[in-house]
């Protein structure tokens, strides 16, 4: 049986590499699909570089689940979602909820990349009195819709958000990312039942299907399969996609709401720790903090 490393801060400020982030912002309107994909790929590369430095500096973080979800976050914030920093008060803008809140550093870095946070703020991650807590809090950051961290909260909240949009006849869409291990929480299935029965077609549930949870493989802990069939049985329009393929992701998100009138469930096939050679698909990297050498190695793989 594999067991995760203990979660102990291992701060070594001497070894922290530089802390800059080049903000690319949204994919420019009018960009071709190829241009959009290139923009997203570059943004994801920069977000991963900044993220691993933040985790190293804080001595805490969940690098595996952050690297598995970054391509999804970047595609949503820089392209798919109708949401920008000057438009937060617009009731019809899209909504995003990171239910797997332990990937907070990936969310913060993506928010900075999209212009929702000043990039300098990233270096306060986990520091005393910082707004960048180890898990995102809606009382601390304007662009965060839901305070998450305990697994199994984000999807019910997203269902409520989508329900309100439906009551108001709003065009806004609600996107929520859940971990695959997280789907072991019953609250998700209660929420899916509600979403399916109420035909919340503007809801898009994205499963970060990296096949690993905290201490072991999902299949060796309490298996989810047949996941697509289960989601379909709960009334979802199910789509499977490579969760690291920006082009495939933006096509899928453009299909929400689905013509069937059902909520969309996207099974995004990902690897924890992607694309770092020594982290990818390795359960040890759930919340392990990389050494200075490992950060250097990862950065060289992200050149």
């Amino acid at each position: 049986m594999t067991v995760e490393e203990d979660l102990v801060p291992q701060v070594d400020p001497q070894a922290v590499p530089g802390d800059t982030l080049t903000v690319l912002g949204r994919v420019p309107s009018g960009a071709s699909r190829d241009e959009a994909v290139a923009h997203l790929a570059e943004a994801a590369r920069l977000v991963r570089r900044r993220d691993i430095m933040m985790v190293r500096a804080a001595g805490l973080g969940h690098i595996g689940g952050e690297f598995s979800v970054i391509d999804i976050l970047v595609t949503l914030y820089l392209h798919a979602m109708n949401m920008s920093p000057d438009q937060l008060g617009d009731p019809d803008r899209d909504r995003f909820i990171l239910s797997k809140g332990h990937a907070a550093a990936a969310l913060y870095t993506t928010l900075a990349m999209a212009g929702f946070l000043p990039p300098e703020q990233l270096s306060t991650f986990m520091q005393p009195l910082s707004q960048l807590n180890g898990h995102p809090a809606r009382t601390k950051i304007a662009a965060v819709e839901a305070s998450t961290g305990p697994l199994g909260h984000g999807l019910p909240i997203a269902v409520g958000t989508a329900f309100a949009g439906k009551l108001d006849g709003s065009s806004r869409r609600t996107f929520v990312v859940v971990g695959d291990g997280e789907l072991q929480e019953g609250s998700n299935w209660e929420a899916l039942m509600t979403a399916g029965n109420h035909g919340l077609d503007h809801l898009c549930v994205i499963v970060d299907r990296n096949r690993l949870q905290q201490g072991a493989r999902v299949a060796d802990t309490n298996d989810l399969e047949p996941l697509a069939d289960k989601l379909a049985a709960f009334g979802m329009e199910v789509v499977e996609v490579n969760g690291h393929d920006h082009g495939a992701l933006l096509d899928v998100f453009a299909g929400v709401p689905a013509p069937s009138g059902k909520p969309t469930a996207v099974i995004a096939h990902t690897d924890k720790g992607h694309p770092i050679s020594f982290m990818s698909d390795n359960v040890a990297w759930h919340h392990k903090v990389p050494s200075a050498e490992q950060v250097a190695q990862a950065l060289s793989e992200l050149e």
Binding site: V3, E4, L60, P128, L132, G134, P150, Q214, G215
Partner: protein
């Protein structure tokens, strides 16, 4: 005892090591013992148990309500389940299962709250378990244990394995020194007087006991004689020791790595009806913690030697 050494010289222990070695030892001779977890093998340090008794480890995945319910079912089936998870999720998420499946049903099952209090520091209020003592002490028939060091943790685990009823035990992750004396034996509802004193009484529990001892040193330097009581169970309380402290000293200060409505509330409810005494409460009161490490947060909330000493001077009007 800890006061023999300066704070810097102390060897600190993670009480999870005592928890798992005791559980493995008990399981060797009692095959009713099973562990029930929520993807928390590592965070519960259950690796050695998982290796020795793989078939007696029930990992339900990330599903705390299921976990406590399954524990109750295992108890119904004649097993002695130790349900072990981060204290925040075990209590907050599965509270109705704790109330009904464990306590109302009077099952012999042990709820083991790992990394309680603010041990998860920077991970924030979602991962802090500071409400647990206040919530759990309201549940009839549940014994609520907060061990102060590894020896007391091991003894509490042994006691719970033999006690035919529901028990909650906090297992501290934040480092603590050895505080109980040689030959000590844990019993529920029995406080330990770690230092005698006549001016004021500091009643502490768990990780705060060593801070109370340090506060007593600070107070002694000011000519204030502080009694230090370690209260290993929030439910039941040692009523006799508390009533004696209220009669014999000029005020009571409670200290906990928790909301002050845990130990503090319990002591206040006792004294206000039986022997009213001036009180001060050290702990967290009616707020969610800001971002910060556990040691930063303990100082921030005054759950420190100097914070306790200030509260003691205040209750005496000095």
């Amino acid at each position: 005892m800890s006061t023999a050494t300066t704070p810097a010289e102390r060897v600190l222990h993670d009480c999870r090591d005592a928890w798992v070695s005791t559980l493995v030892e008990l399981a060797e001779t009692d095959d009713r013992i099973v562990a029930v977890v929520n993807d928390s093998v590592g965070s519960s340090k259950l690796g050695p148990f998982a290796e020795r008794f793989p078939e007696r480890l029930v990992n339900v995945g990330i599903a705390e309500q299921d976990m406590v319910g399954v524990g109750a079912g295992l108890a119904n089936g004649g097993k002695v389940p130790f349900v072990s998870a981060a204290a925040c999720f075990l209590t907050a998420r599965a509270m109705e299962q704790v109330k009904i499946d464990a306590a109302y049903s009077q099952h012999h099952m042990v709820l083991v709250g790992q990394s309680p209090g603010m041990a998860y520091g920077e991970l924030g209020p979602t991962h802090h378990s500071i409400e647990d003592l206040a919530w759990l002490r309201t549940i009839p028939g549940l014994t609520v244990i907060v061990p102060a060091d590894p020896t007391e943790t091991a003894q509490a685990i042994r006691w719970a394995a033999a006690h035919d009823g529901p028990v909650f035990i906090r297992v501290a992750r934040m480092g603590v020194p050895d505080v109980v004396p040689e030959g000590y034996e844990f019993a529920p509802g029995v406080a330990l007087t770690l230092r005698d004193g006549s001016d004021v009484t500091v009643v502490a529990t768990g990780t705060t006991v060593v801070r109370a001892l340090d506060a007593a040193e600070l107070l002694a330097a000011d000519g204030i004689s502080a009694r230090v009581l370690s209260m290993p169970t929030i439910k039941p309380l040692d009523e006799a020791a508390l009533l004696a402290a209220a009669r014999e000293t000029g005020g009571i200060v409670t200290v906990e790595e928790a909301l002050t409505s845990g130990l503090g509330g319990a002591v206040a409810e006792l004294l206000v009806t039986r022997h009213p005494a001036p009180m001060r409460f050290v702990g967290v009161s009616d707020t969610f913690a800001p971002t910060g490490s556990v040691s930063w947060l303990m100082d921030h909330f005054g759950i420190s030697a100097s914070g306790i000493a200030t509260a003691a001077r205040d209750v005496l009007g000095r």
